[in-house]
């Protein structure tokens, strides 16, 4: 059988990073193919190349046996390559029919034949068992329904190759089942389905073949039935499975600092994100939190920082109930927070360094007296941080947006650890940071641990978790599935738990 699509030796470089390095991908008609990789492995870049948003620096694309060049998204559409983005490209105030028509409409159709349009859409959607109501407005639809509209839209455009970017990220398990049922039906008709994911469970459950990307390279392509989750984890992470090396000094005065009991919270869409989440954080330890993105990590860190209200459960800081108290009280009572979104939340890019240094302590006596900011003290504190944490900058008076990711993160961390916090919540602190800065950031966190701070380190990087953590907890679907002591840490074990599996060995657990 001839492949429907071959991407051969694709290389795409961005300033300072090679996003795709000699990546090859072959797809056959009638298959459901999974593109698997961690965040930053190069999946999105590869898809953007296929969709004509980027053009590759090297390599070629062969589509149905023909060498093609995809310069822009319209070209991709004309070749029958349909992309369903993670964030849907629909106009919320228009109807389903209007949205679909917008995507396929010919320029000379000045008069819309609404009834004909709606009838066509109904016929199409019925034949694929994708129920959509053509006259419904998009905002009235659930996320699952919106996704179906996107798929019908691609079918209307005669897509033969359907690419879905993290299609299940927003779906319930039932909706996921239904989605793949539909995709399977399309594959049976000879269409090619490619879906991007980092969820191992889905890959095993729904795909025929898998291509694994790691750090911009294609590691392997294999048949789903010939592999196991463990093997895939190894390929994704790129490590042999090892026990954690060495011993580390146990903090002498270990006591529980932050206790979360049965915490329940909703995500921005109002759906349950944390479901009876339990956690105990001890002084002088780093608790690593592993988990696939979108399983409640964001909501958890927000809840602890006082930025999201809980709908159930309680949070105790040194025995005192701090459930749902304001963010500023949480901050004043000694919980530091390094948020995931460092530029959007943690820092104000358009402001200079001193302004960012006081962001979370603008009302503290150190920087402010009777409502007047103490310029001299603020400047001194900024200079101390710059020196102590070796933060490279183009001048402290310039907007911090000009600084590199690593230096921004050092500034953010420097600010958060100043004032000796009792608890430090660090969400993906080295994500997108170069190796040098990563080491320095890790050193800061370890120093804080040795000082006696209780640290929660959220990360998707198992290697980082292994190096840094005293214990590793795994979050899945808003629950703490298990907590494992560093002695019992294995990639296989963690990987298994990350997919929601229950740990049969009851080692580790809540014993520190």
């Amino acid at each position: 059988m001839t492949p429907s699509l071959e991407m051969r030796h694709i290389t795409k470089r961005f300033p300072g990073v090679t996003a795709n390095d000699d990546v090859s991908l072959t797809l056959y008609p009638g298959e459901i193919h999974a593109l698997l990789g961690e965040n930053g492995a190069g999946k999105s870049t590869l898809m953007n190349i296929l969709n004509g948003i980027y053009s590759p620096d090297e390599g070629e694309i062969i589509y149905n046996g023909e060498l093609i060049k995809i310069n822009n998204p319209a070209k991709a559409v004309s070749y029958g390559i349909g992309m369903v983005h993670q964030h849907f490209k629909l106009i919320e105030t228009m109807t389903v029919a209007e949205n679909i028509y917008l995507a396929v409409g010919k320029r000379c159709d000045y008069v819309l034949n609404r009834r004909k349009m709606e009838r066509q859409i109904l016929e199409y959607s019925r034949s694929y068992n994708l129920e959509v109501r053509p006259d419904a407005k998009i905002y009235e639809l659930s996320v699952g329904e919106q996704q179906r509209v996107e798929i019908v839209k691609q079918l209307f455009r005669n897509a033969n190759l359907l690419v879905l970017d993290e299609p299940t990220a927003v779906l319930t398990p039932q909706e996921t089942d239904k989605l793949f049922e539909n995709l399977r039906a399309m594959a049976k008709e000879g269409k090619t389905i490619l879906f991007i994911t980092h969820k191992l469970f889905e890959v095993m459950e729904y795909s025929d073949r898998i291509t694994v990307l790691r750090q911009g390279k294609s590691v392997n392509t294999l048949l789903t039935k010939d592999t196991t989750q463990d093997e895939l984890v190894k390929m994704m992470v790129g490590r042999k499975v090892e026990k954690m090396p060495g011993n580390r000094p146990v903090f002498a005065d270990k006591k529980p600092v932050l206790v979360l009991k049965n915490i329940q919270a909703l995500n921005d869409k109002g759906l349950p994100a944390l479901k009876n989440f339990d956690m105990t954080l001890y002084s002088g330890e780093i608790l690593g939190l592993a988990g696939v993105a979108g399983n409640g990590q964001k909501e958890l860190t927000d809840v602890i920082a006082g930025l999201r209200k809980t709908v159930g459960g309680e949070m105790l800081l040194e025995g005192e109930d701090v459930t749902n108290v304001s963010a500023s009280r949480i901050r004043r009572s000694g919980i530091a927070y390094v948020p995931e979104d460092r530029m959007g939340t943690g820092l104000v890019g358009t402001m200079n360094m001193p302004d960012n240094v006081i962001l979370r302590r603008f009302d503290s006596d150190a920087y402010c007296s009777k409502g007047i900011l103490k310029d001299k003290e603020i400047r001194r504190a900024t200079e101390e941080m710059v020196e102590h944490f070796d933060i490279k900058n183009a001048g402290t008076g310039k907007p911090v947006a000009l600084m590199s990711g690593g230096n921004l993160q050092k500034l953010l961390l420097a600010r958060e650890v100043s004032g000796q916090p009792k608890v430090i919540i660090a969400a993906y602190p080295v994500h997108g940071v170069d190796i040098g800065a990563t080491e320095e950031i890790h050193k800061v966190l370890l120093n804080e641990r040795n000082r006696g701070a209780a640290i929660l380190l959220v990360s998707e990087d198992l290697e980082e978790l292994q190096e840094m953590s005293d214990r590793v907890g795994v979050i899945s679907e808003g629950r703490m599935v298990d907590v494992i002591g560093w002695k019992d840490f294995t990639y296989e074990g963690i990987g298994f738990l990350m997919t929601g599996g229950k740990n049969e060995r009851q080692t580790g657990g809540e014993t520190a």
């Binding site: 060049k69 310069n71 920082a305 006082g306 930025l307 304001s326 963010a327 500023s328 009280r329 949480i330 901050r331 927070y337 948020p339 979104d341 959007g344 939340t345 943690g346 820092l347 104000v348 890019g349 358009t350 402001m351 302004d355 006081i358 962001l359 979370r360 603008f362 009302d363 402010c368 409502g371 007047i372 900011l373 310029d375």
Partner: protein
Amino acid sequence: MSIKIRLVKREQVKLYHKILSPVISIVIAFVFIAIILRAMGYNPATAYQFLFKGAFGNAYNFSETLVQATPLLFAGLGVAVALSMATMNIGAEGQFCFGAWAATGVGLYCQWIPQPLIIPTMIVVGFLAGGAWGVIAVLPKAIWGVDETITTLMLNYVALLWIDYFVFGPWRDTSSANLPRSQVLPNTARLTTIFGTRVDVSIFLALILAVALYIFFKKTSAGYQIRVIGQNTKAAKYAGMDIRKKMLLVMLLSGGLAGVAGVVYVSGAGSRLVTGVSAGKGYTALIIARLSKNNPLIIVLVSVLFGALIQGSYNLQLAHIPQQMCDMLQGAILFCALAGELFINNTLTIRVQNKESLVKEAR
């Protein structure tokens, strides 16, 4: 052949980019209006000459420019306070009206107040009236998240009709010509003028306020919080700032300053409450604040520029050129300056391609 024009981000933004961009923008605006004047059969050179003479030609004309600039300065500072927090206060017009109305009420009907306290009372009451009008406009935002652009704008019309009710009704000056206006405020309610011109002491208050606001934003914790909220609400929440409280405070201050603009107008050169008392000053203030990027010190300069445009326009009639030309100039300046901002951070690259290279690229 095809021409590709692209905007490319500047690697380094130099100071002269920041200065040249608005200057060139203003020049382009003048050129643009010159073309229109030409097309209408007027001589643009004459027009600009009369405009300039009318505004700066002699000491008297310049003093009149300052008379025009003073209320604009108050209102411009007011709008800038709101814009600093990314709150779109389009309602300075209505807040101006309420300030003017409250001051007129005090000036005409509260003569029992000890004389030295009349003017201060007018200012305080005018501030509160304008501020309240501003706060009312953002209450729906604070509670339900309603866009303040619409609410502030709509309340302008309400305020203008409110004024009309009083100047056509209970406050109407029946002694003179039966025009829709109040009586002239008594001398006790009028600001002291200086140097024998119509410029009054409120200009000093405005300058002090401009400096005070500059310091407020640079040096105080509250000003800092307003700046953070204006630039990144997520970071502000993360920092534990109370955004709602600040929003109400900012609108009280913003509306209050626009209200004081109304006070100094009726107790200064305006001398009485008339129908449509704000006469577009609230909107001009919005342009001033926007052009000055909310910097209070620059607002002083830009207010004088816009005061000059208004004052100069009166002189245009001598050259038989419609004075509305100045409204066009105001609009053109704003338009060009907004467009010009793009070129502070970006530069244009133009690439001309011939057919062969296009074909090559397609392959």
